[in-house]
Amino acid sequence: MEAAGVGPESRSWSAKYVRARLRARPTPPVLVAIAAAVALLVLLPLGFLLDQALSIGWTQIDHLLFRPFVGTLLVNTVLLVAVATTACVVLGVAVAWCVERTDLPGRRTWAVLAALPITVPAFVTSYSWVSITPVVQHFGGAAMIVTLAYYPLVYLPVAAVLRGLDPALEESARSLGMGPWRTFLRVTLPQTRLALLGGGLLVAVHLLSEFGAFAMLRFQTFTTAIYDEYRLSFDGPAASMLATVLVLLCLALLIGELGLRGRARYARVDTGSPRPAARARLGRSKWVVLAGLGALVGLALGLPLVTLVYWVLRGGSTSFPVVSLLSAAGSSLELGLGAALLTTLLALPVAILTTRHPSRIAGALERAAYLPYALPGIVVALSLIVVSVHQLPALYGTTPLLIVAYAILSLPLALVATRAALAQAPPVHEEIARSLGCGPLQALVRVTLPRILPGLGAAAALVFLATVTELTATLLLAPIGTQTLATQFWADASTRSFGAAAPYAGLMVAISALPTYLLTRRLGAVAGPRRAR
């Protein structure tokens, strides 16, 4: 609340005042230095990549860039992103509304089932379709499959907003003479605009980055082309050039979303509305909705799982590969834990700087750390290859470099979770600790860390999840001889050994189920609508 005369003693400090107050706290220079190092870790490889792409001179750039092949890639990529993102938005909003705002039977179960396809990586979903029928290997098939894989990214945030919506808004609209449909379009939908845009952006970014699903479907986009170029020429300017174009596409998306978002901001979801909203009665159409949801969950979740089970049971050409399965699982776990640890450690100082000592510099460093949010894994991997080959040859092809790639890619995830935890731990506790004789570091360890430990755990779990199912960067950067569940799956699946590939995918999904379960329990308010009547 921003009332006139609101002052330092008032309980409802204006946001501006709080920021000014936090800014007044002395900022430890060490913290700025560490955060700057993290930002540099993100930015530097990208710089080297751009440098390599541009170092070949304009004639070469012209030659590499303006050819029919690149035109085809551009059309394919942009068209697919547009169609599939739109489909995800429509599907996500429709499912969210049915689950949250109607009297659909079994709503709680549907709420969980509709979110679950997010746990199956898109490249596994497309594998299961391809293993059934080659018919899906075209634009339409690709668009359908990635929509099934990614719609939860829109569904989840929109559902959260619909659940927290003040029922008074809709009731006022109805009392002003609007019908239910117009109320939805003119009152409800605008409320979800930010969640919808955020979810849509996430889908589009994922689509620009997606490699495995499109490679499996033989559908060429920038990512698959970069991978092919890389395989052909290893450390060549052609791959860097395509990667640069991909980065530009991502930037265009970010700027576009910023423009659409306008002056609105992502509102904090409050503890909830004072009373649950009245739900729309579906009447007879509930059978149609039930059938639709059943089909959706069947296609997006049931089909991949059933296919996996089928192929595991039927087996491949060889006997069940226990040894290589265990060794791949071992590397996946090791890499996942390493990445979780490193990323959380990198995110913590940046989050402390931005929540406790906001300033222009802190804001700029944070934005740099959020950049990988829109950077495809293949771009990060490629840029790390460029850096390591030219600057640090000792690092090339090592496990630490791969873990650094994971850390860069999942830094935004860890940052969001860590920031949220820090924002909930009031700075007054640190101040009290200081007045009781603790130095800044001691106050962090004795007071702040115990409070934000669950948040750090969530950050680590998110990173672990992303790492275990990561394919693209792993394919490019894994040391020779290191196979993860994802790469071993890929090696078999891309040679059409569907039966041999299945156990790896199955174990991968099973391993990522545990952190998902823990996360949904922690975010219980988001995942399970317990307050529903």
Partner: protein, 349 residues
């Protein structure tokens, strides 16, 4: 006399161009309880945070004991100041139990030494050592927060509106307890509040803050009796201001000739005098005494106030206080008798 526990000179601080402290001076005597009283937004909390070292001042000097903790060149970190802090809502560490909260500021060797128990007994919570903060009432949380702040024997304890979060019934009791604890421990304390009744009833010295500076600092009785200006008089409690002609030792007003204190002027001047409503008594109509008619009354139980319009049309309405059982009725005609002296404020020339 030894150096004061705290002395502040010409302290300035602004936030994003908005001045909050504008050259503030304050001294807190050793062993005293001083209250800084001011309306919301006057910069009280900022003052405490600068003393504690959570923020840096723009200019001015802060001394704790003999040590300069903040001036142009010096900034001593909060942990090296020996200044305890009790936050508005206690701010107990939620992951620690009561004993661990109190022991937080003690050196490792001291934690088992009985100091914790001693402090818990001091605040009357000896049996609750193993409780967690969420299992305590608001008043108990405040007392634990006080014990925690006192544990390392700080040179000064700061309390930031410590009773604000408590409900009215509990507030009086916790106030008295906190005051007793501070007395017994011999600590020097500085408390900020916007509640004038709290400041006057609790503190040895009350310093009133306005527009980022201290307007007046004195013991509660002198402050209430002789506020430096009419605005302050009204802020500290209800005040009746009457325009009049001031002479040496008396003033002629709508309530007749009143004996005055302060402003020993030579010769007559225009000005005003201040009376407290409890100085004005309503009586049965008497010959010779100024009269008025009761416009409205406000009943508080133990006492009551009456708004009275004087027959003199040039004079505003005044407020008189009466014991609850002697409240006149609306419409009554009463005579007004003034007890004690009025405080004279000559008009500025």
């Amino acid at each position: 006399m030894s150096a004061p526990a705290l002395s502040i000179a010409a302290l300035r601080k602004s936030f994003g161009g908005t001045p909050v402290l504008t050259g503030l001076d304050l001294e807190v005597a050793n062993g005293s309880l001083t209250a800084v009283l001011g309306p919301s937004g006057c910069g009280k909390t900022t003052l405490l945070r600068l003393i504690a070292g959570f923020e840096r001042a723009d200019a001015g000097t802060i001394r704790v004991g003999e040590q300069v903790v903040c001036d142009e060149r010096t900034y001593v970190a909060p942990e090296q100041r020996g200044v305890g802090f009790v936050a508005q809502e206690g701010a107990l560490f939620p992951h620690l139990d009561v004993a661990a909260n109190v022991a937080f500021g003690l050196a490792r060797s001291q934690r088992g030494s009985g100091r914790v128990q001693e402090l818990l007994e001091l605040v009357g919570l000896a049996g609750l050592a193993k409780r967690h903060p969420h299992e305590l009432s608001g008043g108990q949380q405040q007392r634990v927060a006080l014990a925690r702040a006192l544990a390392p024997s700080p040179r000064l304890v700061l309390l930031d509106e410590p009773f604000d979060a408590l409900d009215a019934g509990l507030r009086t009791q916790v106030r008295a307890e906190v005051r007793a604890v501070l007395r017994e421990s011999g600590a020097t304390a500085l408390l900020v509040t916007h509640d004038q009744e709290e400041a006057l009833s609790l503190a040895d010295v009350v310093a009133v803050m306005r527009d980022g500076a201290i307007v007046q600092a004195a013991d509660p009785q002198s402050l209430y009796r002789d506020p430096v200006d009419a605005e302050l008089a009204g802020f500290l409690g209800e005040a009746v201001l009457l325009a009049g002609e001031l002479h040496a030792g008396h003033a002629d007003t709508a309530l007749g000739r009143l004996p005055t204190r302060g402003a020993n002027s030579h010769g007559a001047t225009r000005g005003s005098v201040m009376l407290r409503p409890e100085q004005i008594l309503c009586r049965e109509p008497l010959a010779g005494a100024p009269r008025g008619r009761v416009l409205a009354t406000q009943f508080y139980g133990h006492d009551a106030t009456a708004r009275i319009s004087l027959q003199d049309p040039a004079c505003p309405e005044i407020t008189a206080r009466a014991a609850g059982h002697r409240l006149p009725a609306v419409g009554d005609e009463v005579s007004l008798v003034v007890e004690g002296t009025a405080l004279a404020y000559p008009s500025p020339r």
